[in-house]
Symmetry: C2
Subunit: 182 residues, 2 copies
DNA sequence: GGTGGCATGTAACCGGTTACATGATTAT
DNA sequence: ATAATCATGTAACCGGTTACATGCCACC
């Protein structure tokens, strides 16, 4: 019963939260908006919705009347919302920053609506803390290794580090944005 | 025979190029360097090496003498190097930037050694071209949607855009780095 | 003789990719 | 009528995750 939820599952839960949608609607989101990091393939989305439904995390209701392939609109159940909230409030760990930065971005996108401003700011501050620690270790690694690295490898690493530095600056700016707001 | 090669497969081919290593060596690279976006799990690496071997892309030779679990060092065959080169010189497409930016970074890291300065610069210029086109479309999307988006979603998108802007600035700086060099 | 590091492997499970397939409704 | 779009589905395949397992060697 307590099956794990995959990334796509959380993306769907987040999108459905406060926005009941059909599989087709969700596909269009993935196809036409910057959420296009996710695949809009039916082979990904419909099975994912079924899994969520079987796990009792979303409820679907068929719109209109006749026909075997009629539009079905999904929305999270209370357990679904709880699972989403639990995911959003998971403590941020070093590994998240190293290997799952995109997932963190996704989590943050849903925060306001589900866990509110406080949750969002708490998240940003722990992200800031992790990045503040991580960036210097990357810089040190680059310094100690660059003599032995080919230029493109060095530059690739530099690119990665700049990415993290950008995230860090962004996190600080985002905290200010919340402080300014209201 | 013409099986597709997964990302991990290319990562291994790239690391082995000019650097014959054992599975264990490769695991340590993934565990201890900024290549840690890849898993260092034996369940990922050893099967991947076997696949490459079966496909004739790497050749392994057992070091030392006795024992059933003796260190085995792999290196790319000429077909392996050809496959790597082919991957590295694949034309850069819009979809790569949208959905596979990390893969592009990985590709670039191996460029110098395999396709040389020319290949690296060509890659950077096409990356620059793609990003120069993509960033404004993201900015426009944000402008047109931000009124309807919760703050955290807006900020998450802003984060993504800044990431791409950073990549763009980096690509330009990287081209200069090549021009300055020799 | 026991701990820890070196070194390699396997198997169950699961989710995404790709490709194929169906059928209703709307627009030309 | 027929093409396009709405809308949902399935099945084979494949690779990564997780967990488990084996065995050698060095050192204390």
């Amino acid at each position: 019963m307590k099956q794990e939820i995959a990334r796509l599952g959380y993306a769907l839960l987040g999108l459905l939260h406060g926005n009941p949608s059909s599989g087709y609607d969700l596909r269009k989101i993935f196809a036409l908006t910057p959420m296009s990091t996710f695949s809009d393939s039916p082979g990904a989305i419909y099975p994912a919705l079924r899994r969520l439904q079987r796990a009792g995390l979303v409820r679907g209701q068929v719109e209109g009347g006749s026909g075997s392939r009629r539009r079905q609109v999904f929305q999270p159940t209370s357990t679904g919302t709880a699972a989403l909230k639990q995911w959003l409030t998971l403590p941020l760990e070093h590994e998240d920053v190293v290997r799952r930065m995109e997932e963190l971005s996704l989590r943050f996108a849903f925060m306001d609506l589900v866990v509110g401003k406080h949750g969002s700011v708490r998240f940003l501050k722990s992200l800031e803390r992790e990045l503040k620690a991580y960036v210097p270790t990357l810089r040190r690694y680059l310094e100690s290794m660059k003599a032995k690295m080919p230029l493109s490898s060095r530059l690739a690493l530099e690119n990665g580090i700049r990415g993290y530095e950008t995230h860090l600056r962004w996190a600080r700016a985002a905290v200010s944005a919340y402080e300014k707001e209201v």
